[in-house]
């Protein structure tokens, strides 16, 4: 399982496009959204974790790398569970990298995003869990190209209909039990993905 998580990291950080993404995602969001919006910190973490978690599926669309993975001595169950566990690791990395990036920008005297603090964990983690729990079953089952298109719609949809409104109604949603709902959906999604992946034909 650890080897699978390590594989995703090696893959992500060996790729030039991922490195360019890591360098550019903070300035890109700052310049396109602006620093006035309360949701900017959430959006940065959300974007980072979502991309890092789903990036390895992108390779499947290009060269069917899932066939390589299936020939290795790995249980399909481990492939699914490791992906769900990696959300938490990616979240931690995303939080640290985004925080460090913003801190450096502030130190250099460019922009001060004062809405980025530890309390963001409470609001962003359930949304990220929920969002990836919706995405992952399709990525585990559908042909890679179709799954990647669906995945993009889910990312944009969650950003527009959850992240942005959440900055205003966050307390209300948390009060309605969003974290508990996210955890339930997370485990349900993992079960569905396990079933979908274990019964999938890799044509």
């Amino acid at each position: 399982m650890l080897n699978l998580i390590k594989k995703d990291f090696l893959l992500a950080f060996s790729s030039k496009s991922t490195l360019i993404f890591i360098i550019l995602y903070v300035p890109f969001i700052l310049f396109t959204i602006g620093t006035d919006n309360k949701f900017i910190g959430s959006l940065m973490i959300y974007t980072f974790v979502y991309m890092l978690t789903t990036i390895s599926f992108g390779y499947d669309a290009q060269v069917k790398t899932h066939i390589l993975l299936q020939s290795l001595p790995i249980r399909k169950r481990d492939i699914v569970i490791s992906k769900y566990l990696s959300i938490f690791i990616n979240y931690t990395i995303g939080f640290v990298i985004t925080g460090s990036y913003l801190w450096i920008i502030k130190l250099l005297g460019f922009i001060d995003v004062d809405t980025f603090n530890l309390s963001l964990v409470e609001s962003t983690l359930p949304i990220i869990l929920l969002s990836l729990s919706i995405s992952l079953p399709s990525l585990f089952r559908l042909p890679p190209k179709i799954a990647n298109i669906i995945n993009m719609f889910i990312y944009i949809g969650i950003m527009n209909f959850v992240i942005i409104p959440f900055s205003q109604y966050g307390n209300l949603l948390n009060g309605l039990g969003l974290p508990i709902i996210a955890v339930i959906v997370y485990f349900l999604s993992m079960g569905i993905s396990l079933w979908l992946y274990e019964t999938r034909d890799f044509v």
Binding site: K6, K7, L10, S14, I67, S71
Partner: protein
Amino acid sequence: MLEIKNVSKNFEKFKLNDISFNLESGYIMGFIGPNGAGKSTTIKLIMNLLKKDSGEIKIFGKDHIDFEREVKNRIGFVYDESYFYEDLTINQMKNIIAPFYKNWDEKMFSKYIKDFNLDYTQKIKKLSKGMKMKFSLATALSHNADLIIMDEPTSGLDPIFRREILDILYSVIQDENKSIFFSTHITTDLEKVADYITFINNGEIVFSKSKDEVLESYGVVKGGKDLLDGDTRKEFIGIRETNVGFEGLAENPQRLKKIFGSEILIERPTLEDIMIYSVRR
């Protein structure tokens, strides 16, 4: 070592129908058939990339799904095309693959990389098809696999590369605990190295026999067109007629020799003859 028993798989437009064959330790089995006959489907079923509808697949005497991890630890798989992460270098790709194998042998991998003139720092996408195949072979042979499964490894390669790969396979098989299952439609490759031939056509196994038995039990019969009538035609698996005569493939050609005597000429067939005439049937 590899036991396929009554395996079936249905697709919308194709059916793999109740196939069975065995591969023992220490041998190379060639798996032949035209494009679309079911070779890759069979290999994908063995590797659990596809779910079988019925039947049994045992590798090293164990069910290939119940003991998937254990079984795959002892299989070296070489693909018909490159499924590696193209942006990575050979070394990075090796670092991804190696930790999954219990018996990964770094020294052996380095030896193959050196023998194959590959460069650790070269990106996979920069490798030629032949080099990618060599890299694939190097990874398949560097974890002490007992069974090497190869899906069309020589297709699209020039004769020199193909010969090199066949030589490597031949050296691997010197260890009698190892076996190779090798699908191809380039049958001349198999005539050089295979011990057994399994022929699949339209999703059904036509035969699975030792190569010598196959080549001895068939014959290419040549003769004048006047010898062909409704009854004699039935003796042939396939016939090709020209203006001057006919050429056909027959099982047990000695029987025809008794009927036609010196009017016919019987030649030893190649695997390609057997495949072509059986498909044309």
